[in-house]
Symmetry: C2
């Protein structure tokens, strides 16, 4: 497949087109993804997540420069809850592209969240695969928010960096945020602000609590204070990220391989969900019994969504119950 060959040779235009097709959910994209998959699994995927306004983009840009200094190629996926209406993602790309232009070692792409259920997670994993197959050494995935989908996304990362800032109840919210559980590195950005040390020590307290609770992967989350705009703490953050990668790769790559397995399982489950529903809906269409026709029964409370779903599924599956 021509596009596959070009993407593997690092062709930015080809990769950009495939990423757009994935984002627009164009079916042909799946064929390309199938052929690219064998060439994936090499990159170090780093998730950078946190609430809006904590300075993730600046951190990502700073890290990119640092990775380049070591001669590592970098792919960046900025997951951006931008609506088609505001169109900010594309704009964001243009602005950020320029900063690293014409460095071919850096490829950045923003992904606007689609309204589709769970679409974000699926698309993100697919896009990570594309950058991976492109041969990027490091893939930085920047995600906004503390929602379920963000948790799913960082689950796809080898290393997760949770970014917060002093104040605005964010430190308290961090406590409430399940995402803290999966942060391998905890960053207090805008550390020039008042309360930075307080936030850092609160995080230290949480890390100690977790040790007692025993999340037991043998890694103790590192806390780093940064001021991304001034470049402060970036070297420490960089070392922490490399340190976690080394941790995963030590002792026969056990952790690394287990993560690869978990990620493959998630991708398979997501593909399975999508394929199963697609196949069922197609068959309903073919039989002249589209979903919308049955919907009225639910709206008028003659049945309920759960019973109807079971009926449809068991009818479509061989010797279904």
């Amino acid at each position: 497949m021509e596009i596959v060959r070009r993407i593997r040779s690092g062709n930015i235009r080809a990769a950009a087109r495939l990423l757009r097709d994935i984002d627009d959910r164009i079916p042909s994209a799946h064929d390309a993804l199938r052929e690219l998959y064998p060439y994936t699994g090499k990159a170090h995927v780093v998730g950078i997540t946190g609430s809006p306004g904590v300075g993730k983009s600046t951190l990502v840009d700073g890290l990119t420069v640092r990775f380049r200094k070591d001669g590592l190629t970098v792919g960046i996926l900025a997951i951006d809850p931008t609506s088609p209406f505001t169109g900010g993602a594309i704009l964001g790309d243009r602005i950020r592209m320029q900063r690293h232009f014409p460095d071919d070692g850096v490829f950045i792409r923003s992904l606007a969240t689609r309204g589709q259920f769970g679409g974000l997670t699926r698309s993100t994993n697919d896009m990570i695969s594309v950058l991976d197959a492109m041969g990027k050494d490091v893939i930085l995935v920047e995600t906004v928010g503390v929602g379920q989908d963000e948790v799913e996304i960082v689950n796809s990362a080898h290393t997760t960096v949770l970014v917060t800032v002093p104040g605005l109840g964010d430190d308290v919210q961090a406590l409430k945020s399940g995402i803290l559980e999966i942060g391998n590195i905890l960053v207090v950005n805008k550390a020039d602000r008042e309360g930075a040390e307080k936030t850092a020590s609160q995080l230290r307290g949480l890390v100690d609590m977790r040790k007692i609770g025993g999340n037991g992967d043998g890694w103790n989350p590192v806390i780093v204070k940064t001021d991304a705009h001034r470049g402060m703490g970036m070297e420490e953050l960089y070392s922490a990220i490399c340190g976690h990668r080394d941790f995963l790769l030590r002792s026969g790559r056990e952790e690394w391989n287990e993560m690869a397995r978990q990620r493959a399982k998630r991708q398979l489950m997501e593909a399975l969900r999508e394929e199963a529903v697609k196949a069922i809906l197609n068959r309903m269409e073919d039989r002249g019994k589209p979903l919308d026709a049955l919907l009225d029964e639910v709206v008028e409370r003659r049945t309920d969504p759960y019973s109807l779903a079971s009926e449809i599924v068991s009818e479509k599956l061989c010797n279904g119950r």
Copy 2:
């Protein structure tokens, strides 16, 4: 079914138990949901969403008091990305329960997000159904963040209140947040803070942009400045919410009914996804070919998740392609 009868009679203990079963994904909960569904569809579902720390809980509590003043019963679902580890959701319930205790007209429950893919949306819709069947006149759904799941959740609401605060780039982030598209009422909370008017006018600008862009549901988002702690602006917010409900119910309830249809469709699609995958996985188990056994082929790149998913699905569906 005993639990169904008790929930319909407004029994808080029975409702709390079912909600817990839903949250814990205990299968028997589905039977109760099936029986409750015919009694749903009456409540006015109001989504209250925004970034962490903007003061959603305080607004929800204030609105609850106001609705009670009109003799309306209120159900509250606080969607809280709390991990099982921190256990904050239950704590939050206890603290907040006390405030309205012993008012039987108010039922509040926090829902901790589960790691399961898309689990949050499904659980939330189910929980809304329970409170609806309980006979609550108004259901307030409080969600944190601007992630995909939050968008899905507010899609289940008749009226969506988007909460922001002055500063911390939140006003800029609002532009980038697709969720703004679906905010029927835009609240600038903590309006005593500097920059409140600036944020409000930025939102006004966005609303005007949207009018030009034409989101065309005939409703022009209302912008309200509040200071929930001092109770400032709560009456305006309350009127805006009632105003939007009246808008939906005017001219033969067209908008209201269309929303009911859309929500039923989402519930059906979610149930379909869940049932389809569950049935397929069960059949694989029965055939002694569990998913994990096939997973190695993906991990070792002998196949890819997409091809394997298609194979599995077409094999499980009658005369699959």
